[in-house]
């Protein structure tokens, strides 16, 4: 018998989803022997990742509740989180630019099936937030607002982790909440979501 799915540490899906019948085995094979339909080869490998230069600068800023974008050396666009390059011109971003912890909801969806240990209770709003002064949006969750009131162009504010829990992690921004300011016209967000 194949092992139960919980034995494979799969992401739990709602009951009934993605369930499929067992494979069909030709009669000729079944008569000879019980066919082997699955072997288990647990593979565990340890990787020690390092973030690189630009992400390190960014993560150190986040520890101090500062959002540090980096500037395209040719076009001046500010990338956050920075990955070390302007993807448009293929040149390193070296100049850091401090951005406010406010922005505009550029795009979103409503998530009814969450993934990962940090996913909030469903349903929740998965948001692309264009931080003021940035050229591209960051991912986050939008809370503290009834889902039916969420709209593209609404202004949002970061909610930070408590000071004693701040680390060099993107998760220092726990979530985004509405900011009481006039909406931005959605047309202005095109090319930045």
């Amino acid at each position: 018998m194949p092992p139960a799915d919980n034995d494979r540490q799969v992401t739990p899906f709602p009951a009934g989803l993605w369930e499929q019948p067992q494979p069909v085995v030709p009669a000729a094979v079944a008569e000879v022997a019980e066919p082997v339909q699955r072997i288990r080869v647990p593979a565990s490998m340890l990787y020690r990742y390092t973030p690189g230069a630009a992400p390190s600068r960014f993560l150190r800023g986040l520890r101090d509740k500062r959002i540090l974008g980096e500037k395209d050396p040719v076009n001046g666009d500010v990338y956050v989180p920075p990955r070390g390059m302007s993807p448009v011109v293929g040149l390193p971003t070296t100049e850091q630019v401090e951005l406010p912890d406010r922005g505009t909801l550029a795009a979103f969806c409503i998530v009814h099936i969450g993934f990962g240990v940090n996913a909030p209770p469903t349903p929740f709003v998965s948001a692309l937030v264009l931080i003021d002064g940035a050229a591209v949006s960051v991912y986050g969750t939008l809370l503290d607002i009834p889902i039916e009131e969420v709209r593209i162009g609404m202004r949002v504010q970061a909610v930070w982790a408590p000071d004693e829990e701040l680390t060099t992690s993107f998760e220092n921004i726990r979530y985004w909440k509405p900011l009481d300011e006039p909406d931005v016209a959605p047309e202005l967000l095109k090319g930045h979501m």
Partner: protein, 390 residues
């Protein structure tokens, strides 16, 4: 279109399923390869080179598995080449295979795309969390859903266009014996009432996770004519191939209709001498992993004016009975072994112009588009195939 002429002269597919526990990874590929060679009236000895493609190696837990698969692919003593361009890989792989002939290096090339997603936890293999990076706690659909919502906002499309696409593709899949999902009871209401995953995407509007492989035999002009004489089936001549890429996150990018998508379509149509794709293309196999991508790509590829793609879906133009049938095979929404999915689109386009598509054949199809995309809607691969020699 430059270089030597190339045609698809054999197509072979496995039965697609959530779990193909009856075959090994090598056996899965052989199933597709044998069928493609049989279709072309060729044997493995006739093949000059093999070009394979699949998505991340973590799916099967084998690093660069083409080495292990060399014998199963009949590749020992031959060139064996491996492509990986994210979700577009099946299409890119077929294009690289065609390049082996267009360049004049080889005459008969076997190309294979596969994924055996049941070997691992697919969601994990696609996006296991890494430190230092933004965590997308919404899964793959959660990545694309915001852009679908933005498309709906821009176009003012009715909310149920996605339902219509999903219903059409799942009904088409009933006519394709190889398709993974065969849901004879599917209805508008069953799609509408299915579990909402990433609003606006419902469960029945998403692709499944499949095991499967597809193999194509490509031939140069002499090989194609010999094959046609032997099999009595017209080759699917390649009229154009194109690939385009752009960065995942860049200022000015529009993920609703990426520039790379528009450029790739414009390039492939120009090569094929197509000026009015809506009129000139007879059938389209398009990479639609979430239902709403049908109207989105219809606009991006130039089949409809911006903001009007959904009307083709709503009017039934993209149904098999319409004037621009899209995904008669059931598409990615019915079958999705990721590394194969793009090549299935390319292969189904070839089957249509060869008149081989059986119950999902569009009568008289002479010119077809195969389309694939991947990554953050940033990698594109397309080809146009026709029953006439270009």
């Amino acid at each position: 279109m430059s270089g030597n002429r190339v045609a698809v002269i054999g197509v072979g597919q496995t039965k697609y399923a959530a779990v193909r526990g009856d075959v090994s990874l090598a056996g899965l590929l052989r199933e597709a390869v044998y069928r493609a060679l049989a279709d072309a009236h060729l044997g493995m000895d006739d093949i000059d080179a093999i070009v394979v493609g699949k998505a991340p190696d973590f799916f099967e837990g084998v690093m660069m598995p083409e080495g292990y698969l060399a014998e199963a692919l009949g590749a020992v003593g031959k060139p064996l080449f491996r492509v990986h361009t994210a979700g577009s890989v099946g299409g890119s792989t077929a294009i690289v295979a065609a390049g082996h002939i267009q360049s004049g290096v080889h005459e008969r090339v076997l190309t294979v795309g596969w994924e055996m997603q049941s070997c691992s936890e697919a969601m994990w293999a696609l996006s296991f969390p890494l430190p230092f990076q933004q965590q997308l706690v919404a899964g793959a659909g959660g990545y694309f859903a915001p852009f679908i919502r933005e498309y709906m906002r821009r176009s003012g499309a009715p909310d149920d266009i996605g339902i219509l696409v999903a219903l059409k593709d799942r009904l088409n899949a009933l006519k394709n014996p190889y398709a993974h999902l065969h849901e004879p009871d599917v209805t508008y209401d069953s799609v509408k009432d299915s579990f909402m995953l990433w609003e606006p995407i419902r469960y029945s509007e998403t692709c499944p996770s499949s095991d499967g492989a597809i193999a194509l035999v490509l031939g140069g002009e002499a090989a194609a004519e010999a094959s046609a004489a032997s099999t009595g089936v017209s080759p699917a001549w390649i009229h154009g191939t194109s690939m385009r890429s752009e960065p995942a996150m860049a200022s000015g990018r529009d993920q609703v209709s990426p520039q790379a998508s528009q450029d790739c379509a414009a390039d492939v149509f120009a090569q094929a001498g197509i000026t009015d794709p809506r009129r000139q293309i007879d059938v389209v196999e398009m990479y639609v992993p979430f239902s709403w991508y049908e109207p989105m790509w219809l606009e991006s590829l130039g089949f409809a004016e911006v903001g009007h793609g959904w009307k083709l879906t709503e009017d039934g133009a993209t149904q098999m009975s319409g004037d621009l049938p899209v995904n008669c095979s059931g598409g990615v929404l019915s079958t999705n072994p990721i590394g194969a999915s793009g090549m299935i689109r390319f292969g189904e386009a070839a089957m249509q112009v060869r008149g081989q598509a059986g119950d999902h054949q569009i009568e008289g199809a002479r010119l077809a588009l195969g389309h694939a995309y991947g990554g953050a809607a940033q990698f594109f691969a397309m080809w146009v195939v026709g029953s006439d020699k270009p």
